[in-house]
């Protein structure tokens, strides 16, 4: 596989004129000169062309995943304070890096990437998932005086699509018609950059093909006929005889772009039915029937996670196909649903078992598949979450915030066994490919509670600066909004973590 095939000159000319011209004409936020000394400064050479963010929505506990601590098996009467990890630790492909049981496959590819154990979420006071997710995805804590763009939108605006027929920012796996959906929408947007750079949302990966197919119930031939009819009707329209105007040109160009995507070879990348069944199974832990996935009853007893294993894997498989087809920014989420998935307010251990089953195979497979296709070197995979969890500490040790989860004195029921409070003083981020060091560990946390960051702390500004660095975007880059500069990292303060690069 070679991605140059979609950027050959002929294809590019067919598509670039439309996609890029519309962007130029769209009255977009103006790019401001970087504020770093322009003279003599070498242009940042990107180490990646594509980013895939694997979003562990709801707060993934570091001690239950990629930063295991002392294992405390469940027995009635244990004290929450004694519970460090509810799983034993396992070895990975890298000496000195241990994972929590259940992540064997990712462990086996750890030699292809780097692990940050010192990610520290923002101090936003009261913990609200959507607010921390806003902070993670935009680099700014809400509310703000202007509509902040999502990381994917900044990349879409700055770099444009890689394959001109492919939307530059594709967002997979999040539904918005649920509690806190409005709050999620607030950052899943291009904000002031303009909707051209907004997300192409695919809420249900199992139905991704619908996003680029003719509308429901319309055959491809009817779709083509409709378009042909439209063009003939357009040619007859009296206003087309008048001189051109900006609004009309932009409308027609956008319609061309849309039709081009829907009828381009790139659209096939969205169709998971074209993937051999055995490949699908590799991503979904064996699940191949997805008819019931989106209708699964959302119970909080720990069974929802088990019944939806495979959904995130499908998203990862879709991501692989989209990378191959030349996507620029892809995000795949385990999906944020209050009290479900990684949002473990109770039944934490059982949910962690299933969430690890949800992510272990597909994340590892994505790394391996991209490697096999020669795409890993130029694709940066990032696995992250808005904050971590702990069984006792809400917030961080020095800055406790209001508890939201009651913790009993002793644990009598398995449902109280696990990491149920929101912890912000440490967290794990995995990075694979895209110029990142292999088999590398960054940061360290305390072995005893509170399991907080001890060294090489990473904050969102620096993490974003690192991702931008890989994509060749300086962290001091700014866009103008209301005559003010808006920096891609807060106030341009982000500093890439150079030691992560190979």
């Amino acid at each position: 596989m070679n991605r140059t095939r979609f950027t050959n000159r002929r294809d590019f000319l067919k598509t670039a004129s439309a996609a890029t011209l519309s962007a130029l004409a769209a009255g977009n936020a103006r790019l401001l000169a970087q504020t770093e000394p322009a003279t003599g400064a070498p242009k940042l050479q990107p180490t990646a062309d594509t980013i895939v963010v694997l979003w562990m929505a709801g707060g993934m506990a570091h001690t239950e995943t990629f930063d295991p601590k002392r294992y405390t098996p469940f027995e009635k009467g244990i004290k929450p304070a004694d519970v460090m990890s509810t799983f034993p630790a396992i070895d990975t492909a890298v000496d000195g890096i241990k994972f929590s049981q259940g992540l064997e496959r990712i462990g086996a590819v750890m030699d292809r990437g780097a692990l940050i154990r010192s990610y520290t979420a923002g101090d936003l006071g009261f913990i609200l998932h959507s607010r921390h997710q806003f902070h993670w995805h935009t680099g700014y804590a809400p509310p703000q005086t202007v509509a902040c763009p999502h990381l994917g939108a900044v990349i879409a605006r700055t770099l444009g699509p890689l394959n001109p027929a492919m939307p530059a920012f594709i967002n997979i796996g999040q539904r918005f018609d649920m509690v806190e959906g409005q709050e999620l929408k607030a950052f899943t947007t291009a904000g002031f950059l303009g909707s051209e750079y907004g997300p192409f949302n695919i809420a249900l990966p199992e139905q991704a093909a619908n996003a680029v197919r003719p509308p429901m119930g319309m055959t491809p031939s009817r779709f083509e006929n409709r378009d042909r009819f439209y063009r003939r009707l357009l040619a007859e329209s009296p206003v087309m005889l008048h001189g051109s105007d900006h609004q009309r040109e932009s409308l027609l160009r956008s319609m061309d772009n849309a039709h081009r995507l829907l009828s381009s070879p790139a659209a096939k990348a969205f169709d998971l039915a074209l993937e051999p069944k055995e490949n699908v199974a590799k991503y979904t832990g064996g699940v191949t029937d997805f008819t019931e996935l989106s209708d699964t009853n959302r119970t909080r007893d720990g069974s929802y996670e088990e019944r939806t294993i495979g959904r995130f894997g499908l998203g990862c498989l879709l991501a692989r196909r989209l990378v191959e087809a030349g996507a620029r920014y892809i995000e795949v989420t385990t999906e944020y649903i209050p009290f479900l998935n990684w949002d473990t307010h109770e039944h934490g251990h059982e949910k962690a078992v299933n969430m690890k089953r949800t992510i272990d195979a597909p994340v590892a497979q994505l790394v391996l598949d991209l490697e096999e296709r020669g795409l890993l070197d130029r694709t940066l995979i990032v696995l992250a979450s808005e904050f971590s969890r702990d069984s006792l500490v809400e917030g961080k040790p020095e800055q406790l915030v209001k508890d939201q989860v009651p913790v009993p004195d002793t644990i009598e029921d398995i449902k109280n066994y696990g990491m149920h409070r929101h912890f912000t003083d440490a967290g794990c981020v995995l990075l694979f490919g895209g110029g990142i060091k292999r088999g590398h560990l960054h940061g360290a946390t305390a072995e005893e509670r509170p399991c907080k960051t001890l060294q090489d702390r990473v904050v969102i500004e620096d993490l974003h600066a690192t991702l931008y660095r890989a994509m060749g975007i300086p962290s001091t880059q700014a866009y103008e909004v209301e005559k003010r500069p808006f920096y891609v990292t807060r106030d341009g303060l982000g500093r890439p973590i150079e030691s992560l690069f190979g």
Binding site: S22, A25, A26, G27, T35, D123, G125, F126, L128, S130, R131, P143, Q144, T145, V146, A147, P167, Q182, E183, A186, T189, G194, S195, G198, F200, A211, P214, P215, M216, G217, N225, R226, F229, Y230, L233, L234, E236, S237, P238, V239, D245, H246, Q247, R248, S250, L251, R253, S254, N257, A258, H259, L261, L262, E482, K483, R484, F486, Y487, R490, D491
Partner: protein, 834 residues
């Protein structure tokens, strides 16, 4: 965003006064030599002052006591003494400081040093006598567009016509060598005016009547008639004001009470055309219905100090009503305009009880802010007054006739809506000059002089010849070289598009997302005629119940026959004290407050043939307790009782309404199955009419109509009344977390994808095709002509008709109609306002 502006060069005679260690002879010798040219202040000196010095020593700032206001203040110098002595540059403090020879005292303090060449020019300037033309000053210029200004209208002339807007524009056109083009034809004008006033496409029959009308003032009449359509006007302008006041039906903040709607108030204010001064006063000095605006959006947890609720209020009020951007200054002295941190806190202080401590870039300064209005010259607000008083005072200042900014900001927004570009741009920066100041100032004064009647100003603009000029393309015009030559081509808003779809295809939204009283802005007679055409009475089992009736339950029945299930069937009912209504045995409505009639859609409960309303109406005790079921009612508990119901049943234009009256029957006996359709009461008697609808003691007034008014739009609800959906979002309906004063008019690919294969539009098209087919058409030609008339306001050309005929084929089905509809909706001619 904070800390964001440290890049600007700053020359500051700041902090402690520099020690006046005069330069040594060696240092003097090392100074860059004076330039050997004749210095031109405007060319050589002013740009350096502007770039490096003015931030701290001009435009009202005077760090170290030094100000560049004029030659005099310059010579006078600051705390360290005179800046320069004419003719003696080598001994001048200015040269010492900018030369950088004393590393401890260098100007500018921040940013790049002056170059050797610039220092040389400064020396030459001083040596040549420090020439400083009197007209050059670095003082803060007086606020622009602030004070009201009387503008006398240029004369009526053949070329200008007699409309005030055109007379005001005539000198502008003359100056720019523009000869206004002839007005657009009737159809184009009507389409614009309908969309601009009520947000809807002109119905074909109204358009035809307008085109046939030969009266010379028919355009004026059309504008006036449309502006008088209070309901539709409110439905359209609700979108504009929702954007501005960031009001929405769902969105961030509502989840935990951190946000509050102002919908009911806003809709009524628009429907009643509340004078703009009162409109503003009620928003900034809020009552329960309006407090959502200044309350802002409050998240749980820690908030950046520039986003506290009082600061949000300061920013939003300044932006929306004064065209002032305080966002930068909420965090630090602004680097893009002259607003200071103290100004932002001055406004925020209005919405706190205690004086606020100023916080600069999230670091407390230890200084308390003085409360003050943006422009203190317009009025003072005492820092230590109670909050209620400060709010009242703000409302007073904002809406005072002396505040010419409020009116200018608003008329400029209206001009921008109608013309595609403001007289001042951007519309949120009213400190910029207008391209035609006389026109801006006149429109603003005219608004104030006409009782702040927004519709008056709309009518003035919409009847001008300027508005009627052919549309021009605005996209390519850069702001600086903009010349007005007619309204811009605009794109329909998301709501206009969706409503136009409704008009063309008969597919609307089912019910509104919030409580609207649609009787607002209508006369009582009009409301009664439309909502309550049949008489309706309070009824009970016994005469005199309006004064006295036993505290007991009375059962009431009404039988009626229907040939078919009507297209719509709503009921509103109320009872002193509580009731339960069954329709054909189905419980549909309960109520327990006679002041607040209740509403239900009962269509699905009705059937052809005989139907029955069955009501259990309960008179409570004087203490408002339901009567005990197992004890006889006692005389001592007697108090007024009554039940009132109005059912609104319609089939096409046929009205089948019915209300409570003496044709109802009643009984005090509770029988088994009393609520069922086939139940016949054994000992029922006729109900007694105990009072007119508005009779005492209930004095229901227009509350019954208010409740029933939802029926007026049920099933035909417009896009402004419902939350955003994927289609309207794609078409640019904003997330209203921030104030939105303009919407983008450029199309995007994601938008086109939603239009091309999005599920929302596709579902609408399928529904629409059903409607179109159900309506029937004698021929393809008729179907296409009807579609073109409603969508584009014109017949199809022969070629268009032929193409459509080919698509539809011999017996058009759903799919063909869907595809035809889609193609027409995607035409620029449909989506643009030309």
């Amino acid at each position: 965003m904070k800390n964001a502006f440290i890049l600007t060069l700053v020359l500051g005679f700041a902090g402690t006064a520099p020690a006046l260690a005069r330069l040594t002879p060696e240092q003097v010798a090392a100074l860059p030599p004076a330039a050997e040219v004749t210095v031109d202040f405007a060319r050589d000196i002013k740009p350096v002052f502007d770039a490096s010095c003015v931030k701290c020593h001009g435009r009202g700032a005077a760090k170290g006591g030094f100000s560049l206001d004029s030659r005099e203040t310059f010579l006078q110098g600051g705390d360290s003494g005179p800046a320069a002595e004419p003719g003696r540059s080598a001994e001048s403090l200015l040269i010492e400081l900018v030369s950088g020879l004393d590393p401890d005292n260098v100007m500018p303090v921040k940013g790049s040093r002056l170059t050797v060449g610039q220092v040389g020019l400064f020396r030459a300037w001083i040596d040549q006598g420090l020439v400083w033309p009197a007209e050059v000053s670095f003082v803060k210029p007086p606020a622009l567009n602030l004070h009201p200004r009387e503008v006398s209208l240029p004369p009526v002339s053949e070329i200008a016509g007699n409309h005030p807007v055109d007379r005001l524009l005539q000198p502008y056109f003359q100056e720019h060598g523009i000869r206004p083009a002839a007005p657009v034809e009737d159809r184009g004008f009507a389409r614009r005016v309908y969309l601009d006033t009520i947000g809807l496409l002109p119905p074909p029959e109204e358009l035809a009547a307008f085109e046939e009308d030969s009266r010379p003032d028919k355009r004026q009449r059309l504008v006036e008639r449309l502006l008088a359509e209070n309901q539709r006007y409110a439905e359209h302008w609700l979108t504009f004001w929702n954007d501005l006041l960031r009001n929405d039906y769902e969105g961030t903040g509502y989840i935990d009470g951190g946000r509050k709607q102002i919908t009911g108030w806003l809709h009524a204010a628009l429907a009643e055309n509340k004078p703009f001064d009162r409109f503003v006063a009620e928003l900034v000095n809020p009552t329960e219905g309006t407090e959502g605006f200044v309350k802002g959006i409050v998240w749980r947890g820690r908030i950046n100090s520039s986003q506290t609720p009082p600061m949000q209020a300061a920013q939003n009020i300044s932006q929306v009503f004064m065209g002032v951007n305080l966002k930068c200054a909420s965090c630090h002295d602004s680097l893009i305009n002259d607003w200071k941190l103290a100004d932002a806190y001055g406004m925020a202080g209005i919405y706190t009880d205690e004086p606020l401590e100023m916080v600069r870039c999230d670091k407390p300064t230890g200084r308390k802010a003085e409360t003050r209005f943006l422009y203190p010259e317009l009025g003072e607000i005492p820092t230590d007054a109670p909050q209620a008083e400060k709010r009242r005072r703000l409302a007073e200042i904002l809406t005072s006739k002396q505040n010419g900014r409020l009116t200018r900001t608003l008329v400029n927004r209206l001009w921008e809506k109608f013309m595609g570009r403001g007289l001042v741009e951007p519309v949120d920066d009213m400190e910029q000059p207008a391209w035609c100041p006389d026109l801006l100032d006149w429109l603003a004064e005219d608004l104030a002089a006409h009782g702040y009647d927004l519709k008056h100003t709309m009518q003035v603009i919409l009847t001008s010849r300027a508005y009627q000029m052919p549309a021009v393309s605005l996209g390519e015009q850069k702001q600086s070289d903009f010349v007005f030559n007619g309204p811009g081509v605009r794109r329909m808003s998301a709501e206009q598009f969706r409503d136009a779809f409704g008009t063309v295809a008969g597919v609307w939204f089912e019910s509104p997302a919030a409580q609207f009283d649609l009787t607002a802005g209508r006369s009582v007679e009009e409301v009664d005629a439309e909502l309550l055409p049949r008489p309706v009475k309070w009824i009970w089992s016994d005469a005199g119940a309006a004064q006295k009736a036993l505290a007991e339950t009375v059962y009431l029945w009404k039988r009626f026959s229907l040939e078919t299930v009507p297209e719509e069937a709503f009921v509103a009912a109320t009872c002193d004290n509580s009731f339960t209504l069954y329709v054909n045995g189905n419980k549909v409505l309960t109520g327990s407050d006679f002041n607040q009639p209740r509403f239900a859609d009962i269509r699905s409960r009705l059937r052809p043939g005989e139907n029955v309303f069955a009501v259990a109406a309960v008179n409570h005790t004087p203490g408002n307790q339901p009567p005990a079921e197992d004890q006889p009612a006692v005389e001592a508990d007697a108090n007024p009782a009554g039940f009132l119901l109005y059912a609104r049943l319609r089939q096409g234009r046929q009205v089948l309404d019915l209300g409570t009256d003496a044709t109802w029957v009643c009984s005090k006996t509770k029988a088994d199955h009393w609520e069922q359709r086939d139940f016949t009461p054994a000992n029922a008697t006729a109900a007694v009419e105990v009072g007119e609808r508005s009779a005492a003691p209930w004095n229901l007034g227009d509350r019954l109509a208010g409740t029933l008014s939802v029926a007026l739009i049920h099933g035909e609800v417009r896009a402004s009344f419902v939350p955003a959906d994927p289609l309207t979002t794609a078409l640019g309906r904003p997330n209203r977390e921030q104030v939105n004063t303009t919407r983008p008019s450029t199309a995007t690919t994601l938008q086109a994808l939603e239009l091309t294969n999005g599920g929302t539009l596709n579902g609408l098209l399928q529904e629409a095709a059903k409607h179109v087919l159900a309506e029937g058409a004698a021929s393809n030609n008729e179907l296409v002509s009807r579609l073109y008339a409603s969508a584009l306001g014109r017949p199809p050309t022969p070629n268009e008709a032929a193409l459509a005929d080919e698509l539809l084929g011999t017996s058009p089905g759903k799919e063909q109609v869907e595809d035809l509809l889609w193609a027409v909706l995607m035409l620029p001619e449909f989506q643009m306002i030309y």
